[in-house]
Symmetry: C2
Subunit: 336 residues, 2 copies
């Protein structure tokens, strides 16, 4: 407790007022001056709930800029809301700050978080700040709404459905590999713009919020890709009591990703299993595919059909040009 603490206002109150009050644009946040927040969902809505914290040294690097940490912290949660078909409604922020967290860091963090909150229509509703002896941790719980009973599940894939992904796959995991390799090695000879593109894809994900409505209207199952396409498709198949056959040649790569993979084919495993994509993986019945893709396209989101669902639970197969299934050394990321 600082000596000059005015009565009725703690150091934490001041920190919140200084950095975060400007983000609390929703009336349910009460300007961050109360003990809790409220969310008033539209009549007939379900509230979709998600929490996915990020920890320094685990989910991001200590040297990552505050702006990137803020954006990643919110966006990994928005990605899940999008995959479930929900419209963002707001979020709670629990910050655990090491003692050496400075004002410049906090100001940059809050500004970027506020910019993303505005961009995605997901205002800060409330939260908590603590000192921690451990690494900086940003725990966001994000909330979305959708018409009752319409959340897009993992478990609805049907044999014959097409497997579809948004954007390009593997950029973030290749970016992480580049970053770990430093200069030289993996990235040698890669154009600097391509190098920068892959690094940025790891640093700041792009949640596909615009696809929520298309998923609700047409997808039989969906999830976001955070632990790698192969592992996450495995989870979707398992939940759906089905399997899938993927044509690896159809998996969409960015130009930069293609540059790397064409130089070292073994990197296709990184692309398919590395994770941090935050693209959407979904399944769509064939007769809905065109309408689904048109809606996604109207929202500015590219989609690619990469395979199909087949009957009976089994690990999905990733088939190469000759129709042989790839065998992965490390099929999916897991903390445990």
């Amino acid at each position: 407790v600082s000596e000059d603490q005015p009565p009725g206002e703690s150091g934490e109150d001041r920190l919140i007022a200084t950095y975060f009050r400007a983000l609390a644009t929703d009336p349910g946040a009460f300007g961050l001056t109360d003990d809790a927040a409220i969310l008033t969902p539209p009549p007939g809505s379900d509230v979709v709930l998600k929490t996915d914290p990020i920890i320094c040294g685990v989910h991001f690097f200590p040297e990552d800029p505050a702006e990137a940490v803020a954006r990643k912290a919110l966006r990994v949660n928005l990605s899940d809301l999008a995959a479930k078909g929900a419209k963002p409604a707001g979020f709670l922020l629990a910050l655990a700050l090491p003692a050496d967290t400075g004002k410049i860091w906090l100001a940059a963090f809050a500004e970027a978080l506020g910019a993303d909150a505005a961009r995605y229509g997901c205002p800060l509703l409330g939260g908590d700040t603590d000192r921690t002896p451990g690494p900086l941790t940003v725990s966001i719980a994000a909330f979305g709404t959708l018409p009752h009973g319409t959340m897009v599940r993992r478990n609805g894939a049907k044999p014959g459905d097409r497997v579809v992904v948004t954007g390009t796959i593997g950029d973030a995991s290749l970016g992480l590999r580049l970053r770990q390799a430093g200069s030289g090695g993996l990235g040698a000879g890669l154009a600097s713009a391509e190098h920068a593109y892959l690094l940025a894809r790891y640093l700041i994900p792009e949640p596909r919020c615009g696809i929520a409505e298309a998923l609700r209207a047409h997808a039989s199952a969906a999830m976001d890709i955070s632990d790698g396409l192969a592992g996450d498709l495995g989870k979707l198949c398992r939940a759906s009591h089905a399997s899938a056959e993927i044509d690896v040649g159809l998996v969409p790569l960015s130009d930069a990703g293609q540059s790397l993979v064409s130089r070292d084919n073994a990197l296709i495993e990184t692309v398919l299993t590395g994770g941090d994509d935050y693209e959407i993986l979904c399944t769509v019945a064939p007769d809905r595919l065109e309408r689904f893709r048109a809606l996604a396209s109207a929202a500015g989101i590219s989609t690619t059909e990469i395979g199909r669902v087949v009957a009976g639970w089994a690990p999905p197969r990733f088939l190469d040009r000759s129709g042989r299934p790839l065998v992965f050394e490390h099929p999916s990321f897991s903390h445990f």
Copy 2:
């Protein structure tokens, strides 16, 4: 990733299935097999949102039993929901686990969390588990519901309202002092049952969930006491543009608390400013006081009038027997 990881199921999936699936009793949790959960509030409801994480070494001791950690993690959030007049509806759990967290710890943690979830009607809806290089951290975001527009705010206290608290004040902070002092010193001569009582009050708070309805019906302002009665009353007064005069002699102490304070009068500052009470502080208009207290009593919760609200923002005054205001060295707990 372990070598024997079955496809479509990660180590994290197995950990969740083993320890936490049994807690996911609400249909909106989807058995923890999807990427997000849903909450379907009753028509015309607001959803009250709160997150208050606890960190090992900050909010609890490394040697605290897993059961106590689980209960504290949930209850500090339930306490806020109660203070706001909300009925618990469910929670998200984000666990950051050091590598040495064992199965026995996890099993005991999950069992106690499940018991409290059942006890308070607040089921686990979803969550996330991560490895952390830092201290064990339990981040719960808890949700409650109440009729639209009825959340009890901090800012409604009016001059003339009575200041009321539930239960007894200072037990937890005295328990913490006893624990920090070890054997001898502060606790010397205290009966062992009294010693144990105060330690337990620090270890496991008792959220006053039963008072939510009475608060909604009759309180002009309310909050839970987590950072000390003096500091939290200061916040309530500041938010209400009012002040308060408290008769320190009326502040309810437990027998054990009274035992300690009567031996060392200076401990009254610990009682009034120490925090971790998780009792309810509220203000009630005089003509509602009897009905409020009757409702609380019917819910098994004792309430005590300790003073009154006075006009104009100023730090609340805590008056001793002779009507002189106490001056505190450290008015309130704050991390910053």
